[in-house]
Symmetry: C2
Subunit: 176 residues, 2 copies
């Protein structure tokens, strides 16, 4: 089974905390395997996501990485592909399909993304050529990469939601 | 052509400014017609989105609405459907397809959503039953509602991006 790692570049603790958290929550909910935080070392993001996985299940974790260039170079040597989501890139749809069976690092910039990230990437991909949200762009990229199957992913956590037409039904799962 | 209105409920200026802005940017980029802001009257969200439409094209606007209950009741009387995105709802996929040809208000909560919103909604819909991001959920809902066609939407603004494999190519469009 191919793996997706989401690398958040240039995280700024004060400015990006909520958006970066949304990036990783989407990554987890839509089937990514791991998250890597670059930029500020922000324990509240790392711990917040760990807490979500602890309660809601799955193995998704975020760790901080001080050297993203080295990290990307290592993954590339290990055969991973690198897809950088940017509004300036090529249309993402064909590439997401092509990447489907391959291990892939998805790079999501916070502030201005250094030129080298564009060059290290195998693909620079845009989800529309309009300014919008890296969170929305990531959701659509993962959806096409997993061909919609991520929406049926099961998590076994301590609690789970039972879909309901008009209320909130939460099950607390007994541990063995 | 059916229309989508995105209603952001319970916006808190201090806490939600960036996420609410992302909600509306995704709404605009993925083909929604209008945005309605409920909760705090936050001029910077309204003006920020107006500026994006001015530069990048299209007619998408956000306005503040002091009475969301009245607003939803009026739209329902005018034949619109109301879909509330919540992690507690039914799977969104079948409903998004069913709603496709209909005018629809998509309700996106910020803080805790009042019970009445669940009751006023024709559909309470979840995009996975995991905690993630209303921005990601909205992107996927719109994608299924428009059946992927939103990704080819053209905007005629003052500037546009020419998709590129590794650089940034921005065209400034001459006005007539």
């Amino acid at each position: 089974m191919a793996e997706i790692c989401v690398l958040r570049l240039g995280h700024r603790q004060m400015r990006d905390q909520r958006i970066t958290t949304h990036v990783f929550l989407v990554a987890r909910a839509l089937g990514a395997t791991e998250g890597v935080l670059s930029g500020d070392l922000d324990e509240s993001v790392v711990k917040g996501i760990a807490r979500v996985s602890e309660i809601w299940g799955g193995n998704f974790k975020v760790r901080h990485e001080p050297d993203w260039r080295k990290f990307l170079a290592e993954r590339k040597r290990a055969g991973w592909k690198v897809a950088h989501l940017t509004m300036y890139g090529e249309d993402f749809r064909a590439a997401a399909k092509k990447l489907s069976a391959k291990n892939c690092v998805v790079v999501i910039g916070a502030g201005k993304v250094p030129r080298e990230a564009y060059e290290l990437a195998d693909f620079n991909l845009s989800v529309t050529t309009q300014p919008h949200s890296e969170v929305g762009a990531l959701a659509l990229f993962l959806d096409r990469y997993f061909m919609g199957k991520e929406l049926g992913k099961k998590f076994s956590g301590k609690i789970r939601i039972v879909p309901n037409v008009c209320g909130k039904v939460v099950q607390h799962v007994e541990s063995d």
